[in-house]
């Protein structure tokens, strides 16, 4: 009988030790990079659409991220620690995104390298911010993401206003007199369309005669197209995603529209050409940041991606790849995973080589160079038309 209290005391002590031990381990993963054990992996979190309307994009991004990760790990990792990727599903919707972000935070993510749909990425900013986790956003590019001037948010894709500026430049350069802007009412798409309209509304050049909104996930846009054609525009700019973009291009041509069609970066995908059909897609312009297809020296990267996944890289594969490399570089420079130090390292980054060119962040944490260019569908392939430089 007497032995029992002693025994339980001993076991309590052991449990206590274990708990504190574990606690330290968890803390180490969270904030104090210094206290982390050398064999703890550096965890990168990636919030991407894996279900829902944009589910097709998720694998393009996570595959490319994994590719970057494997390359870094093959070279021995960062600070002697391996990298690890944890993904969560944002389904391109705000509720799922918030849940996914909380899940990643609980799993002890050190840096976030995800974010595709702007509408889904916006609600995750405070969640990662509260946990002191820097965010390198590879694809989402609504101006709203940086308008709040949050210290931990970095965009490595051009912003909506940069894209709108490129669109306006090209529409004017083409000598168009009247332009119609079409968007799908998502944060990303509406942002670009309205910014382009504001730019076009300035005196001189083309005039924005209509902003037409469509409902995503429909198949038939004939009602919208009848509205568009009634304005007899000579330029139509669609700022949404490729699923609708392909249908809209096809249905515009079927309805007898002869003017120019241009799409935004969310529509740049070989699938756009497939959906529209080669005939309707021919000559469609696009505003896009640098892609492997238009970049010299990216053939090796495309080949590596193909070899690993037996598929072509898709939209935002290269940005996701760059986001992981950038995160690794920042952690290396910061000497650990402490959020504030990583943020400082990112802000100090100068000349880090990415697909979009050497990286340096502006004070509002967007790219200072490597803006948008104009692509065109030529013989069924998306090729560079004008770098707008």
């Amino acid at each position: 009988m007497r032995a029992i209290p002693l025994k339980s005391f001993a076991s309590l002590a052991v449990v206590g030790l274990l708990v504190t031990g574990c606690g330290q381990g968890l803390l180490g993963g969270d904030g104090g990079g210094e206290t982390a054990k050398a064999d703890d992996p550096i965890v990168l979190g990636m919030l991407i659409p894996q279900s829902g309307s944009e589910a097709a994009i998720g694998p393009y991004m996570s595959n490319a991220a994994q590719l970057a990760l494997d390359e870094i790990n093959a070279k021995g990792g960062i600070l002697g620690r391996k990298l690890e990727l944890k993904t969560a599903d944002d389904a391109c919707d705000a509720q799922s995104a918030a849940a996914g972000a909380n899940k990643l935070v609980t799993e002890g993510v050190d840096v976030s390298v995800g974010g595709y749909c702007s509408g889904a990425t916006l609600p995750t900013l405070p969640i990662f911010g509260k946990a002191n986790i820097p965010m390198i956003i590879p694809a989402a590019n609504s101006q709203e993401l940086v308008d709040q001037k949050l210290k931990h948010v970095f965009l490595i894709n051009g912003t909506g206003s940069q894209q709108a500026a490129a669109a306006e430049k090209w529409i004017t350069k083409q000598g168009a007199k009247s332009a119609v802007l079409m968007h799908d009412n998502t944060s990303y798409s509406k942002d670009i369309a309205l910014r382009t309209k504001t730019l076009l509304d300035a005196p001189g050049g083309a005039e924005a005669v209509l902003v037409e909104t469509v409902t995503p996930k429909e198949s038939d846009y004939s009602a919208n197209i009848t509205n568009v054609l009634a304005k007899k525009p000579d330029f139509v700019y669609w700022t949404g995603y490729f699923q609708e973009g392909g249908l809209i291009a096809r249905q515009l041509r079927q309805a007898g529209y002869k003017g120019s069609i241009m799409v935004g970066d969310g529509s740049v995908s070989p699938k756009l050409v497939e959906i529209a059909g080669a005939e309707a897609a021919e000559g469609v312009y696009a505003t896009m940041t640098q892609t492997p297809e238009t970049l010299e020296g990216a053939e090796g990267w495309v080949a590596a991606y193909k070899k690993k996944y037996n598929a072509e890289p898709g939209p935002y594969s290269n940005q996701a790849y760059d986001a992981v490399r950038l995160a690794a570089e920042a952690v290396a420079k910061a000497g650990g995973t402490d959020g504030a130090k990583v943020i400082a390292a990112l802000e100090a980054m100068d000349g880090f080589s990415m697909f979009s060119g050497p990286l340096k962040f502006t004070p509002e944490h967007t790219l200072s160079s490597g803006g948008f260019q104009i692509l065109v569908v030529k013989d069924g392939k998306i090729t560079l038309q004008d770098s707008l430089k």
Binding site: S51, G52, S53, A55, A56, G58, P59, N185, E212, T213, V214, T215, K217, E218, S219, D220, S222, A223, N224, T226, N227, Q243, G246, L247, R250, Q254, A255, G256, K271, E274, I275, G277, E279
Partner: protein, 297 residues
Amino acid sequence: MTQLVWNGLFVGSFYALVALGYSMVYGIIKLLNFAHGDLYMIGAFIGFAVLGAVGGVSASMALPLLLVVLLATMVLTGLAGVALERIAYRPLRRAPRLSLLITAVGASFALEYGMRAAAGADPRVYPVRLGGTSVEVLGARLTLQQLVLVGVAVVLMFGLNLLITRTREGRAMRAIALDPSTSSLMGIDVNAVISRTFFLGSALAGAAGVMAGAYYGKIDFLMGFLIGLKAFTAAVIGGIGNIPGTMLGGLLLGLLESFGTYWLGGEWRDVFAFGVLILFLTVRPTGLLGERVTERV
């Protein structure tokens, strides 16, 4: 103006085809089959697979080939509908109505994400597509292919109406709709008739799926969601459970959307469509052609 009417009728005939299945199932077992829109999606994918299997036919043969594929797909989608009923709904025949409804929502997700697991999340594009050059008729631009599709839809709907009003099978369906237990006492195999109802409704949704795939080109695993809601709306407008009413509801909804988009702008298209749904549910829940039924206690 004629363009708006034509746009509305064209889209409306798709809505009507899908809505018929909704309406028939509701009419016979009082179940709102929320998975019905996904049968339209299944139909589109089955059509895609069948086309792939028979592929290698020249483009000039596109229309006759598609009609053959359409028939094959209708049979297969019909069977899928029967399987859905057998697996998801029959075990719950005596359960409260709410459990059936919840099961239908679950079945819808199962079909969507099952198809995603099977075929991937990327949208697919039909190898054979109906495009065609458009001609002006009375100021509206339409293509021969559109006319053929509307023609097929009309033939299918008339066929269904004949089947229901003129055949023994149809009589059995109507009898069950009125009173399932008495019907079974009268020697009708209720389960078999319900299976056939699911077969017919699903086959029509499958036909609409193939036609949408062949005309618009793009199919994906979520394509059934919105059209399912629209078909439900169409059925409510015309009178859910009432076959001619449902056809009328489909065409009316197409027209409403077309004119709504013109008057109010594209962002209001769905607001308009579902606003009308709410209006009907509050003011005339039995729809335009539905009869007011007094339920005896």
